[in-house]
Amino acid sequence: MLHNFGQYLLFLKTLVTRAESLKIIFKRTIDEAILIGTNSVFIVALVSTFIGAVSTVQVSYNMVNALIPRSTIGFIVREMVILELAPTITSIVLAGKVGSSIAGGLGTMKITEQVDALEVMGVNSVSYLVLPKILASLLVFPMLVVIAMFLGLLGGYVAGTATGELTAQEYITGIRIDFIPYNVVFALIKSVIFSFLISSISSFRGYNTSGGALEVGAASTTAVTQSVIAVLIADFISAQLLL
């Protein structure tokens, strides 16, 4: 495990030593960002909307005390969505979607000698292939998390009002009570950390694939598993340090 971690750190070092030109990296980063964004926005929207909706219904189900105002449901849903559900659940979904795609893509390039072809040409394959993926993830993940926050709250609103658990006014009052803007900043910081972990771990796993199609599949699975574990550990540490 320690050996793997050392290799991972050396891999990260290769990203910045003898990097390709800024123009090439910039162009590839934009291409990757478009790819990650367009491929992920639907699943993120779907998951976050339903998570917001389910959260509202379940909080409402557990909030039966007549002394607690119904607007508290909105308040709790907002805190859950902004602090935890939007950044963490979105990142876990993206670890599956983007992480497996990165590991699979790089793994396939590795076993079909496309990576060797780059190296023979004198191109730093890590810098050319991996750095744009990491930069694009750092750029796109926070945007997706913002979308997830908005849609999570919207999902909660729709579910709450449609089921009659609380009125629109109660929900809106709830999500505006004691709002701390730092919580959004905290969620965005977390999303940046998670995006780096997911993209770099998946790239590392994909780039170090050897063998055949079976190993590419195994690399994708390992990438997703390790990314999710890293996200959960980082989630705990960042909550301890930043809140």
Binding site: R18, E20, I24, T112, E113, Q114, D116, A117, E119, V120, M121, G122, V123
Partner: protein, 255 residues
């Protein structure tokens, strides 16, 4: 000219290359011949720097390559063109983009000049109308041609081909061999071809190095390979019934 000196390589304690030395001449098609698993591809990867030899050195036209400074190795690598066994075309790019790629990365050519060079290279390998096709739309032979076009696009000085005929029918294989030999002569480059195909030996083997269990045990050319008195080489050559029959006919004619 490429010189290799005392190349040793082991993987997990298993010796794959055992002290191989030799010279690959400019303007000639140099063949690395041997059965599967004898270390031909590993030797080729050691020469181009994809695998680092445990001991030994490689020199390109007098410039030391192995373990030299990174910028010198990069400079040499920019003169290298390589055709991989599975072609290794970038599958997210069109044929045109694949051939243009090394020019884009390694030169400061304007777009129009790059496109002229791409069209010239594709024409040279006989693929005039394939510019916009994706690699997945190409046959095995076409992929090899695109691979050759990509390798020669930046005016390479050294061309390496790792089993260029694998997976091809005999007729297409002959065409690919002929193309490699023509390009070598036309541009006076140093070409090394890894093969276990006797047709390639007969067609383009101007200089041949035969490897057996990680060692070089014979060196010569297509003119004298059939008369070589090395048992391992004889066994390799005449494993094929066609070659055995040809030898019988030759002996009969001599009597």
């Amino acid at each position: 000219m490429i010189e290799i000196h005392n190349i040793h390589k082991s993987f997990d304690g298993k010796k794959v290359l055992d002290g191989i030395s030799g010279v690959f001449e400019t303007g000639k098609t140099n063949l690395l011949l041997g059965a599967s698993g004898t270390g031909k591809s590993v030797l080729l990867k050691c020469i181009v720097g994809l695998v680092k030899p445990d001991i030994g050195s490689v020199t390109f036209d007098g410039t030391y390559f192995t373990n030299n400074k990174l910028d010198i190795r990069q400079e040499i690598r920019r003169k290298i063109g390589m055709l991989f066994q599975g072609s290794a075309l970038f599958d997210s790019m069109t044929v045109e983009e694949n051939v243009e790629f090394p020019l884009k990365m390694l030169s400061h050519m304007p777009k129009s000049e790059r496109m002229d060079r791409v069209n010239f290279c594709l024409q040279r390998v006989g693929l005039e109308n394939a510019n916009k096709k994706m690699p997945s739309e190409l046959s095995g032979g076409m992929k090899k041609r695109v691979g050759i076009a990509r390798a020669i696009a930046p005016n390479c000085t050294y061309l390496f081909c790792d089993e260029p005929n694998s997976g091809l029918d005999p007729l297409t294989a002959l065409k690919i061999d002929a193309l490699i030999a023509e390009i070598t002569e036309e541009y006076n480059i140093t070409t090394i071809v890894v093969t276990h195909d006797m047709n390639s030996v007969i067609e383009i083997g101007e200089k041949i190095m035969f490897l057996y269990e990680g060692k070089k045990i014979w060196e010569g050319s297509r003119d004298n390979i059939l008369d070589a008195e090395v048992p391992e080489l004889k066994e390799f050559i005449f494993a094929n019934r066609l070659m055995r029959d040809a030898k019988k006919v030759e002996k009969g004619a001599a009597k």
